[in-house]
Symmetry: C2
Subunit: 197 residues, 2 copies
DNA sequence: TCGTCAATTATTGCATACAAAATTACATTG
DNA sequence: CAATGTAATTTTGTATGCAATAATTGACGA
């Protein structure tokens, strides 16, 4: 609900309120809340109610920067290990993305986009890297939902994905790094620009 | 206790056991456990007892790789913002490290080492980067405790810190990146070699 | 009108108890 | 002896209640 912005950033709530919303008692609710707090999605301030963590443009930009660095690390690792089957799977994801884009099916498109990036980074074979990447990517998902980026950006993004896949097919690690990073930068700019407006 | 290896990696325990150890009830204990699990320090397997997460040489190596990428990102950011006061503070930490090293005060030395690296990355001004870095660094702390690296490595490490500080003083971002990464690689090798033996 | 202090209320922290789920041990059968 | 089903035990998931803490309100005095 937080990631999908069904709970607005900054929204304040008490444990009691959530108990009524979810129909569970405070014990499991608190356990969940503490985890969300440790992940930075919720801020708990004892006796003042918890709040859905706000996410500032600055934090979004910083998160993109870190993701960029991780993608840069991943590039050569991926090219060292990627198989033709892996490439085929990624191709399939991009194909499905196109169809979801044409159908303007936003939720499915977003999920496939996550899938594309996480599958890509997963090919690095570095589980710590993938884990770190996923956590940060998830936090940005909120920003994506907020700006609801337009079809224009979606089609640009598709071209960039194809461009990335070309580097992957050539097993050119350094080039893959550059293209991943470039895609990352453009996505960041698109989201931050929309957020300004 | 986990980070200091006072709880052995792989050790199994039930909630009931920990309740007796810590003298609290299951409710707050479970909240703590869930957080540790979400941070990857504990693995919870329902009805089979939880275990202290094991940390493999492979995972250590992968973590160092990610830290290296983060340091690479940090280098230029740091040099863009660092003040003379900041540099003086870092110098002071290295001085204190030397004295703790001479006194063979392992715990203090480790804490100062954490302080040095985290202060350095903090100078990047990127809070997300610092946060990510800290989490990964903390997980490696366990490995440091395990291998209890020797005075030999400590003195090498001190030289590398001085070498890093030189690049910082010259505000050479690219060079700072390289030296941070080199230090990272050497530390990783030292720890992994010791772990083998 | 402002500030201070006390009383009230809201909110949380923790302990306990019960129920459900899964594992383990054990007996029975082929 | 292996395999399977069942009972007993372990372990966990959740609900509830009480106590403690902090925030808020209101009254009183300067």
């Amino acid at each position: 609900m937080i990631i999908r912005c069904e709970l607005e950033p900054g929204a304040r709530f008490t444990e009691h309120e959530l108990v009524e919303v979810f129909g569970v008692s405070r014990t499991p609710l608190r356990e969940a809340l503490k985890i969300l707090a440790s992940e930075g999605l919720v801020e708990m301030r004892p006796h003042r109610g918890s709040t859905v963590a706000r996410i500032s443009p600055k934090e979004i930009a910083q998160t993109f920067d870190v993701l960029g660095a991780l993608e840069e690390l991943a590039g050569p690792l991926i090219c060292d290990r990627v198989s033709n089957v892996d490439i085929a799977r990624l191709d399939q994801i991009t194909t499905e993305m196109s169809s979801k884009r044409d159908a303007a099916d936003r939720n499915s498109y977003f999920e496939l986009n996550i899938s594309f990036h996480q599958s890509m980074i997963g090919l690095s074979g570095n589980a710590v890297l993938l884990n770190t990447y996923n956590q940060l990517f998830a936090k940005l998902q909120r920003a994506r939902y907020m700006v609801n980026d337009d079809q224009n950006r979606w089609s640009e993004s598709a071209k960039e994905h194809a461009w990335i896949m070309d580097a992957l097919r050539q097993r050119d690690g350094a080039e893959l790094s550059r293209r991943l990073k470039e895609h990352n930068t453009r996505t960041a700019q698109a989201i931050l620009a929309k957020l300004d407006a």
